[in-house]
Amino acid sequence: MANVLVVAEHVDGQLRKVTLSAITFAQEAAQLTGGDVEVLVLGSGVDGVAEELSKYGVSRVLYADDAAFQNYLAEYYAPAIVACAQQTNATIVCSPASTTGKDLLPRVAAGLEAGMVSDAIDVFDDGGMKFRRPLWAGNVITTVEVTTPNKVVSVRTTDYDSAEPTGDTAPVESWDAGLESRDDVEFVSFDQVKSERPELTDAEVVVAGGRGLKSGENFEMITALADVLGGGVGATRAAVDSGFVPNDWQIGQTGKVVAPQLYFAIAISGAIQHLAGMKGSQNIVAINKDPDAPIFQVSDYGLVADAFEVVPELTEKLKSVVE
């Protein structure tokens, strides 16, 4: 039996929703292998996350509660996942293509002698299992085949809906990773950007600003609009590099990928590296004072206008509309 193992992602015992998209991917892959979907949770105090995950139509949830897993380190997580995959007959191991997934999964692939697919957007059967993935900043989609018996996949979660609770619960089992400690790596700190707003990758509405906003203070315009719509906030690399906003806000080829219902690109030129992170949005609104800005090539609705004038106006008027 060729099972599919999903490595869950959580922050301090809070499930990250991207995991549910990875489960949907795993369910599709398991249809092709004929095996089960099992989930592995590594951490400290994660029995709650494990219980929660048991509701999403998976066959079993394993969790390894160990102080050594409290803070994520690839050097500890990877060998545990490799051991778990081997013990559970998983031939596919997957996880979201988050920064953790990107850091971790290649090490898992090396341990399983597996080929790895980055950013999978599709898995299907066509004379054998095939995957599709974007590259070249999303300007090319390739179809690939993994030639090794084991396969490791990072999942582009914007291309998969979240798995839904089924009403049933799967067995939840504690699992011993048999961890060996190392003296060549230490976790120091995780400085979380605290925010009341929805996570960018989950938000239904994303309001993003670019270098044209000229300062961090002016980003209050962006956050005010986002807050009226209950949205997340994002930015271009140029805005992050200029020190206007934290790196965690960067959307694009080398930042986050988002695909909300509604995306506002404000004072953003529309470089291909930025488009790579937001082109999948359902509705794109662009506000830019330059009528030739490339962002208008991909936007559904455009306003050629000064952001400093129209964004406050839009925010004010939307307040009464969304009430």
């Binding site: 050097e75 988050s98 920064t99 953790t100 850091d103 971790l104 999964l105 290649p106 090490r107 692939a109 090396a110 341990g111 080929g115 790895m116 980055s118 950013d119 974007p134 590259l135 070249w136 900043a137 999303g138 300007n139 090319v140 989609i141 390739t142 179809t143 690939v144 085949e145 993994v146 190392r182 003296d183 060549d184 790596v185 230490e186 120091v188 995780f190 400085d191 979380q192 950007v193 990758t201 509405v205 719509l229 992050v240 590099d241 790196n247 965690d248 080829q253 080398t254 509604l262 291909i272 359902q282 509705n283 794109i284 208008f296 090539q297 559904d300 609705y301 455009g302 306003l303 129209v310």
Partner: protein, 248 residues
């Protein structure tokens, strides 16, 4: 301290790639190439580490013979010598990592600095695979690197904020975009680079089988988005979002 940095020759990231009619790859005629942007940050960091701690910077590329151009650029920036592992095949990340592992065995560097991803294949795997094959610790997506007492303390850009990790050397660091400002090659630097040593090897000579674990079968263009409409004012925008897109 011996520092190894890696360099990949990639298509100019600001040019739109075109796909061959037979879907076997991207069009290469008339295309400009340059050093992968993330590798520029990696090479810069390697040179900065040398400037602070002394030692030698060796740059390595795995790719076609034309990659000597990017290796010369790295040497013009300040790297001391270069190694090209020549292949005309488009290797997968795993093959590149196994080739690099052989180079590491020969060179025995104290630290390796690599770009976090290549802007053409966008895989973000090679450094982590290499670290795993060497059983070295890794610090990916670095925006800050401090080296001292045989350890590297690395600030990392991660989802949700930033993280700090310490790795004992030898170890691998991958560069993110805010790590430094890559220097330009100076004219004297370019002249000097022409005389710096550049060795060429092949995967065969290193005893590495480069057969892919991930085979690329087909290249396609993604569906195009159509440009929409330019609206008159905020009122019209709200009206359309509400009554046409139904998102308010």
């Amino acid at each position: 301290m011996k520092i190894l940095a890696t360099v990949k020759r990639v298509t100019d990231p600001d040019m739109k790639v075109k796909i061959k009619p037979d879907q076997s790859g991207v069009v290469t005629e008339g295309v400009e190439y340059k050093m992968n942007s993330f590798d520029e940050y990696g090479v810069e960091e390697a040179i900065a580490i040398k400037e602070e701690h002394g030692g030698e910077v060796v740059v390595v590329s795995v790719g076609p013979s034309e990659s000597t151009k990017e290796l010369r650029t790295a040497m013009a920036m300040g790297a001391d010598r270069a190694i090209l592992v020549e292949t005309d095949e488009d290797l997968d990340s795993d093959a590149v990592a196994r080739v690099l592992a052989q180079i590491v065995e020969r060179e025995e560097p104290d630290v390796i600095v690599m770009g976090k991803q290549a802007v053409d294949s966008d895989r973000n795997q090679t450094a982590q695979l290499l670290a795993s094959y060497l059983d070295w610790p890794q610090a990916t997506f670095a925006f800050d690197v401090e080296i001292g007492d045989g350890w590297a303390t690395v600030g990392r850009e991660v989802d949700g904020g930033t993280a700090t990790k310490r790795i004992k050397l030898p170890g691998i660091i991958t560069a993110d975009l805010r790590l430094n400002e890559p220097r330009y090659a100076s004219l004297p630097g370019i002249m000097k680079a022409k005389r710096k040593p550049l060795d060429t090897l092949t995967p065969d000579e290193l005893g590495v089988d480069v057969a892919p674990r991930v085979e690329v079968l087909k290249f396609e263009a993604p569906p195009e988005r159509e440009a929409g409409e330019i609206l008159d004012d905020v009122d019209e925008l709200i009206d359309r979002l509400k009554n046409e897109a139904n998102v308010l």
